[in-house]
């Protein structure tokens, strides 16, 4: 079975102040199979988001240096040209950003924002794109009312905005969804609703998910396998339940809150440049 995504020896470094190189991601390798949910956990820092952005070649080219291999359906993404990448972004690999409030244009109606994504990947006329957008929004559980569809992001609640961003990501039926802290800004109730929705959609659409989240409860709800990162490197990976019951690395233990974290402080090297 060919893997949907295969990342080999990925390295991302940023040029910091004064020609100092900051290695955000070091020799990271992992694979995601069809329909699999891979969780990514790690301390708050650039490493996880850098991977997400690197997958879609969205890192600022003048500041970031990438090396390694990212193979999607056998195609090497790091050597693909811009227009082919544009076809992949949003349609085959979709990114759900942290903080949906910032990820939406403040002056566009939410239905139009979803329609834009659809229009970018299909040769349809706008009325059809808008209709498809409305069904995409309904699919993520937003009430099918024109009041909601014609609303602007600032008029909605945090939970609703999260659903809009999810609708945008799923509108073109991607094979891989990269979710960056999808429930971080929500309260417990909305969080549970969102996770249930994600689980349902994942099963129905059979999509793979790269789930970036520092919360063990979120990973427990969705992840099949788990990757634990620290300082840009992978420290442990394996099936979620196995890592939870039998963590071999102290950082894994701290991340999954299975033991006293006091001993962890020395292991976590906080030397970082944002």
């Amino acid at each position: 079975m060919q893997n949907l995504l295969r990342v080999t020896d990925l390295n991302v470094s940023y040029r910091g102040a004064g020609s100092r190189q900051h290695h955000a991601v070091e020799n990271v390798s992992f694979e995601i199979a069809d329909g699999e949910v891979l969780g990514l956990m790690g301390e708050s820092g650039c490493g996880k988001t850098s991977i997400a952005l690197a997958l879609l070649s969205l890192l600022p080219m003048d500041q970031a240096h990438i090396s390694g291999s990212i193979q999607f359906r056998g195609k090497e993404l790091l050597s693909t040209d811009q227009s082919s990448l544009r076809a992949i972004r949003g349609a085959e690999i979709s990114l759900v950003f942290q903080e949906p409030e910032l990820a939406l244009s403040p002056v566009m109606k939410i239905r139009d924002q979803v329609a834009e994504v659809i229009h970018a990947h299909n040769d349809w006329k706008w009325p059809r794109c808008r209709a498809e957008a409305e069904s995409a929004l309904a699919r993520v559980g937003l009430a099918a009312s024109s009041r909601i569809f014609s609303a602007y992001p600032h008029q909605l609640s945090g939970g609703q905005r999260q659903r809009v961003v999810l609708a945008q990501a799923l509108a073109c039926n991607p094979a891989l969804l990269v979710a960056d802290e999808p429930a971080a800004s929500l309260d417990a109730r909305s969080q549970n609703e969102l996770l249930a929705l994600l689980r349902k959609l994942q099963r129905e659409l059979h999509i793979s998910i790269l789930l970036i989240s520092h919360a063990p409860e979120v990973q427990a709800s969705l992840a099949d396998r788990l990757l634990v990162m620290a300082n840009g490197r992978i420290v442990e990976q394996g099936p979620f339940e196995q890592l939870y019951r039998n963590p071999s690395h102290s950082i894994t233990r701290a991340m999954l809150r299975t033991s006293a974290p006091a001993s962890v402080a020395e292991d976590l090297d906080f030397e970082m440049v944002t």
Partner: protein, 323 residues
């Protein structure tokens, strides 16, 4: 609607205050319109005194101000001593010419600045952007006066352009098409001057507003969805960058009567500029006050237009939360 009424009331009060203030300032300058006559030995003091009382210049300040207010309601805005005609028609004629000049320049300047600004922002850091930056900086540092004089020199030396005025001598003999062409030929240099003076700061503002927006997360998100760069620029970045620019546009409108003063004087365009300068020097009081008032009206109108545009284009100001 009530908000609008409140704004209008404030504007009225503002205009009233401006009129009192400009009236008062003019009184501070020693002498009046007839002072040059009084130093002429051939004219008797009695004649000068008679002229003064004829035009009411010997009355105390409040009475003169009250007379002027009456003239506002009458519609003639007082009398111009220099020409002996009512101020209003004189001012209207000149204002029309000024608006033709500034209106054309405003339109042209904004129509050029927007694409330039967007294009520079999109190519930030590349050599085209840097070259553009050098050009705008140079024009920013050249004093407007030098610029306009250079244009005048160009006209005089080459004879390609008329050197002043709005129409040629044989204007009345021309057909409609000829008349339009004639005015356009005269309009050319002043417009070029004004556009060159106002374009650089505009381009810079637009560029920096766009750059700031292009770094926002929602722009990155749009790119992540595979939306084309052109659409990202025009449908995502520009509408959000428009906010500060609309305010700037309001200021442009506000300055429509005053921005062209220097270019009108240097290139002899018959607008409000030369009229105002002459009137100030001659202490032709009512002309000065009327011109200042008209400028203030434009200022108020410009601000109102900017606010209305902002309200119409930014949904965040317009709408409330649904939840």
């Amino acid at each position: 609607m009530r908000y609008l009424a409140r704004r209008l009331l404030h504007s009225m009060l503002l205009l009233l205050a401006v009129s009192i203030f400009s009236f008062a300032i003019l009184q501070l300058a020693p002498g009046d319109f007839f002072t040059p006559l009084s130093v002429n030995p051939q004219i008797s003091a009695h004649t000068v005194a008679t002229l003064r009382s004829q035009y009411g210049l010997d009355k105390p300040f409040p009475i003169r101000y009250e007379h002027w207010l009456r003239s506002v309601f009458r519609g003639d805005l007082g009398l111009s001593f220099a020409s002996g005609t009512p101020v209003a028609p004189l001012l209207v004629f000149r204002a029309r010419n000024t608006l033709l000049l500034t209106g054309t320049s405003l339109l042209l300047a904004w129509m050029l600045a927007i694409p330039f600004g967007i294009w520079s922002a999109a190519r930030r850091g590349k050599w085209t952007d840097r070259a553009g930056g050098v050009v705008t900086s140079s024009f920013l540092t050249i004093p407007d006066l030098v610029l306009f004089l250079a244009l005048l020199l160009l006209a005089v030396r080459t004879g390609w352009f008329p050197t002043g005025g709005m129409m040629s001598a044989r204007f009345d003999d021309l057909g409609v098409g000829g008349k339009v062409q004639d005015v356009a030929a005269h309009l050319f240099l002043p417009v070029v001057g004004l556009v060159l003076a106002t374009l650089p700061p505009l381009v810079r503002h637009i560029r920096s507003a766009m750059i700031e927006v292009l770094e926002a997360p929602f722009v990155l998100a749009a790119r992540a969805h595979g939306i084309s760069e052109r659409r990202v620029l025009l449908r995502y970045a520009l509408p959000v960058a428009a906010n500060p620019l609309i305010t700037l546009f309001g200021y442009s409108i506000a300055g429509m009567l005053s921005a062209s003063l220097l270019v009108e004087v240097v290139l002899s365009w018959p607008g409000v500029g030369p009229l105002l300068v002459d009137a100030i020097l001659a202490k032709d009081v009512y002309v000065v006050v009327a011109a200042v008032m008209l400028s203030s009206v434009f200022l108020v109108a410009g601000n109102l237009v900017a606010d209305a545009l902002l309200f119409a284009t930014d949904p965040r100001i317009r709408t409330e939360q649904i939840n």
